[in-house]
């Protein structure tokens, strides 16, 4: 690490998260100024984008090589009042909450109180959504049957492809003109709407060029007063780069990185799309620039390393935008899910691992930053050395990179109808979601609480936590004479809630399509320009909406317990079991013991239990897959929880697997905490029994004590463990390598463990920043394996 990098990294780690009113003020001023003008919505959004980029503070940190910040300084976070507006109470929570607080100073509070909150209350997109969804949607949402992603953030969840490394903004503007001049364009019934959209894209492209030029201007000014000759030269060089990109296609390694970074800032300034935008297949995109630089002598390996490290730090300066309402209290993850993909296959199907892949692994190891997250794509062609190198980073307990199965991802995307080339150019983003990079809008719409649906089924449509009827009348389960009958009732309730969720998705999708276009993001994702249609309105080549199932382990074990004890063994009657659940096992400890310890469980490679996982998977898949979304695409399923299994657990009463009320649900497709007794191979076998290829991603977390990674021999064994899982079409696996003692000590002395990073779900987070429940859960799992 050079001194420069060390300094920038320290600065990033030390910077304190705070709320910056800058963007909110600019947006409010702008909206107030255009109310009397008769502009189309895309034009308003594009001019708003231009207004922000023209007026926001240009921040250049000392010693930086890659420039540009979303806020006025590192970790100064903007808000997006047009999406959701922070009330004074929200700001108070953000300022005071224990985990990942965002400091809000007096001046900022005053600005929100006087200027921002009053203007946007009742006008924000969130208000619009809440006013348009149905009452049954609201009831299910409040009961914790599902969450809604687009309530506080814009649809995003997309990843840049290779286009920007070949085309500058001016080239994209040429493309826009070509479309406008196409013969027959004017005859298109939608031509005037398309024209507005395309004009909005053009304004956005120019806005980014101007933004870069403002950076160039500031850099030149800094150069004038700079004392060090070396830095002066650097500043002028950087100014030159900012005058070239993003207007034109990049010519060098440095330009390529700076170009991407401007695009990144553009996307996350325009709106706050889920999850943070990211460069995707970075080793592939940058490799030609690296090769050329080394060949013509303009780049050295060390310089490339330094540039990459500076690039890495930029991501870490940008925490996830803070939420409002209850989620401000609950959702306290720092990371914004940038997931850099390494390895995989090229579009011709050959192995994509190159020299830069290994260099990037070095960067990840040295930087040890939360953001950007990283993953490796392992295909059957990937060399073992690639996996060994990665495992040697994973074993340091930092939770990154995680492992993804390229061959599965390609199959998943192909089965959704994508072209082979687009599938091979794809990867995973966010936690684990498969997507075609640069060509797809894949919108995660919300988590879906599978065990809650079973709870409602067992109470004949009523949510026992509130006593409210939120489901259907599917019969008193005490009268069910067979397990099949229970499953039929469950299927009816499941379909009922999925219908509500999908109707809600489509209402919300329409709101975004009509009211909240993203002309800048639309420039980047194909084929929005040629279609003359916004990313939020179905302009992308592929449009997918996902519903993410949560609690597979919990629901599987609960159903298995019912099948085993009520119907097969007849140890307890249905009503007896339900009484135990409703009393949270008080006075039913013997039964609970039986349920927890003497019931077949998912995760042990026993068909009797795993069959229920398959059953639930098939029902969930059938309910969701192929249903139309609002923008001409389809709904599909994912199985991943991020941290939602904790929230969903807190609204779900005791379950038949012996889980106490309000405790976390199982995570991803992992077994219930502690239910797997036969080690990792059995877990992988169980997890592979569901058909990953028909999902857009599954998440499997394996917490192992460090000794599993000690020495070459162990590394080879872990590598074959991964290969075996991938041979069974597993989608993703990640390892949390920590000892329980370390974690317990960290809980006692958080001040000594500020940099302790653990894998939470599909991402890593500071252990200190996790809620106590989540901390305890991670400790529990660690113990489970360290014996």
């Amino acid at each position: 690490m050079t001194d420069r990098v060390k300094k920038l990294r320290d600065q990033s780690l030390k910077a304190i998260n705070r709320i910056s009113a800058e963007r909110a003020v600019l947006v409010t001023d702008f909206y107030k100024s255009v109310t009397h003008r008769n502009l189309s919505i895309p034009m308003v959004r594009a001019l708003n984008f231009d207004y922000i980029l023209t007026h926001k503070h240009i921040c250049i940190n000392d010693g930086e090589l890659i420039v540009g910040e979303r806020g006025p300084a590192p970790k100064a976070c903007p808000t997006y009042p047009e999406i959701c507006v922070h009330s004074p109470e929200d700001l108070e929570i953000l300022d005071k909450r224990q985990k990942v607080s965002f400091k809000v100073d007096e001046e900022t509070r005053r600005i929100y109180h006087e200027n921002i909150t009053p203007y946007w209350q009742g006008r924000s997109n969130r208000d619009l959504i809440m006013g348009q969804v149905s009452s049954e949607w609201l009831a299910a949402y409040k009961a914790g049957v599902f969450t809604e992603f687009q309530e506080q953030r814009a649809p995003g969840h997309t990843v840049a492809g290779s286009k920007i490394y070949r085309k500058g903004m001016l080239d994209l503007i040429d493309e826009i003109h070509d479309v406008l001049l196409q013969p027959g364009f004017q005859d298109d019934a939608a031509s005037s709407a398309k024209q507005e959209e395309l004009k909005a894209m053009e304004i956005s492209a120019n806005a980014l060029i101007k933004f870069a030029e403002r950076h160039a201007g500031t850099l030149e000014q800094l150069a004038v007063v700079e004392k060090s000759r070396k830095r002066k030269k650097e500043l002028l060089e950087m100014a030159g780069i900012c005058r070239h990109v993003p207007a034109h296609a990049p010519r060098t390694f440095h330009e390529a990185l700076q170009y991407y970074w401007f695009v990144h800032l553009g996307v996350i300034t325009e709106l706050n799309p889920w999850d943070s935008f990211n460069p995707g297949r970075l080793d592939q995109h940058l490799y030609p620039f690296y090769r050329q630089g080394i060949a013509d002598g303009s780049l050295t390996r060390d310089r490339a390393m330094e540039l990459l490290q500076c690039f890495w730090i930029k991501f870490n300066n940008h925490p996830a935008p803070p939420k409002v309402g209850v989620t401000a209290l609950e959702s306290n993850t720092y990371t914004d899910f940038c997931l850099i993909n390494l390895g995989g296959v090229k579009s011709d199907g050959s192995d994509a691992v190159n020299e830069l892949t290994y260099m990037l692994l070095d960067v990840i190891e040295k930087m040890r930053l939360l953001q950007p997250g990283s993953m490796v794509q392992v295909s059957k062609m990937s060399p073992d050395r690639f996996i060994y190198r990665t495992l040697n980073i994973t074993k340091t307990g930092y939770g990154q990179p995680s492992f993804f199965n390229t061959d599965a991802i390609v199959q998943e995307l192909l089965s959704q109808g994508k072209s082979l080339e687009d599938a091979r150019n794809g990867g995973a983003s966010g936690c684990v979601e498969a997507g075609a990079f640069g060509t797809e809008a894949y919108i995660l719409s919300g988590y879906f609480n599978l065990p809650k649906v079973l709870e409602v089924t067992l109470h004949n449509g009523i949510d026992p936590r509130t006593g409210k009827m939120i489901g259907l009348l599917t019969g008193d389960p005490a009268t069910f004479s067979s397990f099949d009958q229970l499953m039929q009732a469950f299927q009816k309730q499941l379909n009922h809630f999925i219908r509500i969720k999908i109707e809600g998705n489509n209402t919300i999708g329409k709101i975004f399509a009509e009211k909240m276009p993203v002309p800048f993001l639309s420039l980047i994702i194909d084929d929005c320009i040629t279609n003359g249609t916004d990313y939020n309105a179905g302009g992308a080549r592929y449009n997918t909406t996902y519903i993410q199932g949560v609690g597979l382990g919990t629901i599987t074990d609960s159903l298995t317990a019912i099948r085993h004890h009520v119907f097969d063994r007849k140890l307890v009657s249905m009503s007896g079991l339900m009484r135990a659940d409703d009393q949270n096992f008080k006075d039913f400890e013997e039964l609970q013991l039986e349920l927890v310890y003497h019931t077949p469980k998912y995760g042990n490679d026993e068909d009797y239990a795993d069959d229920q996982a398959r059953l639930v998977f098939e029902l969930f898949y059938a309910a969701v897959n192929g249903q139309a979304n609002a923008i001409g695409g389809t709904h599909r399923i994912n199985l991943l929880p991020t941290t939602c299994h904790v929230y969903f657990g807190s609204v779900t009463g005791a379950t038949a697997d012996g889980r106490n009320a309000w405790q976390p649900l199982s995570e991803g497709i992992s077994p219930v905490q502690g239910a797997d007794r036969k080690g990792p191979t059995a877990v992988l076998k169980s997890a592979a029994k569901i058909d990953h290829i028909r999902t857009g991603g599954t998440l499997l977390n394996q917490k192992l004590s460090p000794d599993f990674f000690e020495g070459d021999e162990s590394i080879h064994k872990m590598s074959s463990l991964i290969r075996s899982y991938f041979r069974m079409d597993g989608h993703h696996i990640q390892f949390n390598v920590v000892s329980a003692d370390t974690l317990r000590d960290a809980q006692q002395h958080p001040e000594l463990y500020r940099d302790l990073i653990v894998r939470v779900a599909g991402y890593s987070d500071y252990f200190n920043d996790l809620g106590e429940d989540l901390q305890n859960e991670i400790i529990k799992r660690t113990e489970h394996y360290s014996i």
Binding site: D605, S720, S724
Partner: protein
């Protein structure tokens, strides 16, 4: 007649009992009574009850469990077969351990035969205390022997394990001469097996073995040694099974002592691993 064997555990993803990812089948019953036995539940050739603590929201419940079940070859193989894909990817296989698997030689033989039919790598973890005939019968089906060497002095061997080491050493020479791959396992028990005399005698044994089957340099030695440090971990097990732990009070071994021992054996050209 279907033969059955008394098995007390089948563990998957064992990574210390031979190459690759393996499944280890634990046979119940052992003719030895080593003071340091880390698997006290494996000694008696009968199923037994033990008390296990189950925890529910912080409260402990006592539960009695059975250890040891009579299983058929098919039943054992069904369980072992579950991880076949992992053996293939990692070059692993199945390990038969105990207790003493040679004590149920016909059953062991049948399992080895079944495993070989499926093409798996096989390992047998043995004290070596078996008849020559049994050894001769089994050996062709075994790819790797994990073979205990404990005490070279027969009197001490009798004292601490309950049996003479004579057949053990004879079987070892026989296996080595017939070209088998052997990993010696040496339990390093403070004050009992780690004495100067015992270690010197083990070295002498190794030199004698090596002289009987010289190996071309390029191939490395087919003989390796694992040093198994004494762990107090087994104490809890003794309590659960209500057995007397004669080593109560003996402490875990010092890391430096082990490292020194490792070096001594390495200087003899052996591959040495600590633990395993």
């Amino acid at each position: 007649m279907v033969i059955r064997g008394l098995i007390f555990d089948i563990r998957r993803f064992t990574v210390h009992d031979g190459p690759g990812i393996r499944t280890t089948v634990f046979f119940k019953g052992c003719p030895l009574t080593c003071w340091w036995c880390h698997n006290p539940e494996s000694q008696d050739f009968k199923s037994e009850r033990s008390i296990k603590n189950l925890v529910l929201s912080g409260t402990k419940f006592q539960h009695s469990e059975t250890t040891g079940n009579f299983m058929t070859v098919d039943e054992v193989m069904a369980e072992v077969q579950k991880d076949e894909i992992f053996y293939e990817e990692s070059g692993g296989g199945v390990t038969f351990s105990g207790g003493e698997p040679m004590m149920q030689e016909p059953f062991l033989h049948a399992l080895l035969q079944a495993s070989k039919t499926l093409g798996w790598h096989t390992a047998v973890d043995t004290s070596g205390y078996a008849t020559h005939k049994a050894m001769e019968h089994t050996a062709p089906l075994v790819d790797l022997f994990l073979y205990d060497v404990k005490l070279m002095n027969d009197e001490l061997h009798r004292k601490y394990t309950g049996v003479s080491n004579k057949p053990i050493l004879e079987n070892l020479e026989f296996l080595y001469r017939s070209g088998k791959n052997i990993t010696l396992r040496f339990p390093v028990i403070p004050g009992i097996t780690d004495t100067y005399d015992n270690i010197q005698q083990i070295k002498t044994l190794i030199i004698r073995l090596q002289s009987q089957r010289p190996v071309p340099m390029a191939h490395g030695s087919p003989l390796s040694i694992h040093l198994l440090p004494y762990h107090t971990i087994a104490r809890d097990k003794y309590r659960r099974f209500c057995k007397t732990n004669q080593l109560e009070g003996v402490h875990d071994l010092k890391q430096e002592a082990l490292a020194g021992l490792k070096q001594e054996f390495e200087e003899m050209g052996l591959t040495v691993k600590i633990g395993g």
